[in-house]
């Protein structure tokens, strides 16, 4: 490959600017997060005078100690963890069981079901009719409302279906000849082969539920059932002072509290990020390939 084209002055200036801009983009992404992290360990006086930037002069952990001594916060954290775990299991199970039959080209009715699924991507009943269905099912103020209405992501379903179609069919055939039932093939052959994609979409679904704000906003009134995202909103929003009047006895919305609660709600995502990153590029690429 010729390298000459990269030696000209214009080309080098281009490279320098390119590198500078891209590094700048990386910094812009990172700095707000580092700033909040630093702020969560800064004292209240340092925050109000903004003398810290990426490192607090005086390193304090009192904000975290205070948060973790508060019932409201612990309850929101446990709620979020519980809903995320149960929800992810349900979502992954439903997605896998639906994707497998849809991957079978010979299955009568398959195209009809696929079209029904794709149509929901283009058109939906919308916020109010969905809300009424959830209400009629008696799920208002229930944790199920945070899980079941989002049980299957059609995009993930299509990607998993494409993945199943790519599996070597000879394996399944061999298992059938050996007398395996359809269920046996699914559980003993297909699922073990699908571990990477199951891991990928488990993480995707888990992030989705962990981050979900709209469902609790729509379906949960009871403040004892708040999730972490709702608490973050209540503590840091523009109307934080008003929203918190109900909770004033337990929470004193200091500035440090806002920083710390953002850090705590973000941390699990960042901890899982390396695992996510390992898989997501592949996931996105399978998804973007047309059938």
């Amino acid at each position: 490959m010729s390298v000459n084209q990269y030696r000209s002055v214009g080309s080098r200036i281009f490279d320098a600017i390119n590198i500078a801009v891209l590094v700048g983009l990386g910094m812009i992404t990172l700095l707000p997060l580092l700033y909040v992290l630093a702020g969560s360990f800064a004292s209240e006086s340092e925050i109000s005078s903004r003398t810290f930037f990426l490192w607090p002069e005086k390193f304090v952990t009192s904000t975290y100690e205070y948060i973790f001594a508060t019932d409201v916060f612990i309850r929101a954290l446990l709620t979020t963890i519980g809903v995320t775990l149960v929800g992810t299991v349900i979502q992954v199970a439903l997605t896998l069981t639906m994707a497998y039959p849809l991957a079978k080209r010979y299955l009568p009715g398959r195209t009809l079901v696929l079209n029904l699924v794709i149509f929901t991507v283009v058109f939906s009943g919308g916020i109010i009719p969905t809300y009424l269905v959830v209400r009629d099912l008696g799920m208002l103020n229930s944790y199920w409302a945070l899980i079941l209405p989002l049980a299957i992501n059609p995009f993930y379903l299509i990607i998993v279906k494409s993945f199943f179609q790519e599996l070597p069919e000879a394996l399944e055939e061999a298992a059938r000849i050996d007398g395996a039932t359809e269920m046996g093939v699914f559980f003993k052959i297909v699922l073990p082969l699908s571990k990477p994609i199951i891991a990928t979409f488990s993480l995707f679904y888990a992030v989705g539920i962990w981050n979900d704000y709209m469902s609790p906003l729509l379906y949960i009134d009871d403040s004892s059932k708040w999730t972490l995202q709702v608490l973050v909103r209540q503590l840091t929003g523009a109307d934080a002072q008003n929203a918190l009047s109900a909770l004033e006895t337990v929470f004193f919305p200091t500035q440090g509290l806002k920083f710390a609660v953002v850090v705590i709600a973000t941390l699990p995502i960042l901890c899982f990020y390396p695992f996510l990153q390992k898989h997501f590029v592949k996931g996105v690429l399978i998804g973007s390939v047309k059938e």
């Binding site: 990269y6 069981t97 299955l107 009943g125 209405p149 069919e169 699914f186 962990w210 523009a238 990020y273």
Partner: protein
């Protein structure tokens, strides 16, 4: 060879006829159909049953009376919407944000992907990529909180710095109607640009390197290669992304807008989705809110089919 892969076929039918055939097919694939049921139930209950609920846009829906007991009023709510004071404002705000999205948010990942593609220091390339993907996984609540922490007048660092360095009045950016749109676009850029580059980078990775060789032989410099080889190569991807975006043109991210809306910036902040929530859930006007949502949904479908048709007319591959 699909039939080879099917479970062992059952004995040929003794009695010809449609019904027994269908029953046999069902029995033959019973396990597959059984696996399909829970997922199908989900789509029916949470996607198709709500579509039936759209009928309340044409009723004066009273929850107590239900779908069958409520009175039919035809297009009353649509007439109210189109002639009411909200429609112009909602349409303007929604289209304005959509326009800003087309101008700023749509090209950003293409530009970043092209820049990353030109970066030949691999470790730097990968580090930048890893960093700019992160915001995609953070919730809108976190993004909104970061915005408040950085921009608000009470404790926002930027507001404080701008005031200290430039002097002048301290601006409460998050409460200013004029600052609403710039903040929303900045948030969207920050959260989505990196992630979307993945798709363009994948397209760029698929470009045939012999094309570059040939272009160089013809004396093309880096700019001409970019213009005549790279860009045409990713054009189909750009078209598909454009079609997808056009369908979502009126779908502002509900969570994002809702989280950044407050009583002070409502004039510029209200868009169809947040209005539906506000009127429907907070004020209980189910029928009117559903009519607004249905209008938005229908326009969205028309847009996606329209742009797909246009793409095909222009000689590109569409989505369907």
């Amino acid at each position: 060879m699909a039939t080879d892969l099917a479970p062992p076929p059952v004995k040929a039918a003794k009695v010809a006829g449609h019904k027994p055939d269908r029953a046999r097919t069902l029995w033959r694939y019973r396990w597959l159909y059984l696996l399909l049921i829970p997922g199908l139930a989900y789509f029916i209950v949470f996607k198709y049953v709500p579509m039936r609920g759209l009928q309340i846009a044409f009723q004066d829906f009273v929850p107590f009376l239900g779908y069958n007991g409520s009175e039919w009023v035809g297009f009353k709510h649509f007439v109210d919407l189109f002639t009411g004071p909200d429609f112009g404002r909602l349409m303007y705000n929604t289209l304005y944000l959509a326009f800003l999205n087309v101008i700023f948010v749509f090209p950003a990942p293409i530009i970043v992907a092209l820049m990353l593609n030109e970066l030949r220091i691999n470790i730097l390339k990968r580090s930048v990529q890893s960093l700019i993907y992160i915001p995609h996984f953070l919730s809108w609540t976190i993004v909104a909180s970061l915005t408040y922490i950085l921009f608000s007048v009470d404790y926002g660092v930027l507001a404080g710095w701008v005031h200290e360095i430039l002097g002048g009045q301290k601006i409460d950016y998050v409460a200013q109607p004029d600052w609403f749109r710039p903040i929303i676009i900045l948030q969207t850029l920050w959260k989505t640009t990196g992630w979307t580059t993945i798709i363009y980078l994948a397209a760029l990775a698929g470009v045939n390197h012999e094309l570059y060789e040939a272009a160089r032989m013809d004396g093309a410099g880096r700019w001409r290669q970019l213009w005549h080889v790279t860009l045409p190569a990713i054009r189909p991807t750009i078209v598909v992304m454009a079609i997808l975006m056009s369908g979502n043109l009126l779908d502002m991210s509900f969570e994002q807008i809702w989280l950044m809306t407050n009583n002070l910036n409502r004039a510029t902040a209200d868009v169809f989705d947040t209005f539906v929530f506000y009127v429907g859930i907070n004020q209980g006007a189910f029928s009117y809110a559903t009519a607004v949502g249905l209008f938005k949904g229908v326009v969205g479908v028309l847009l996606i089919f329209g742009s797909n048709w246009l793409a095909k007319r222009l000689g590109q591959r569409g989505l369907f």
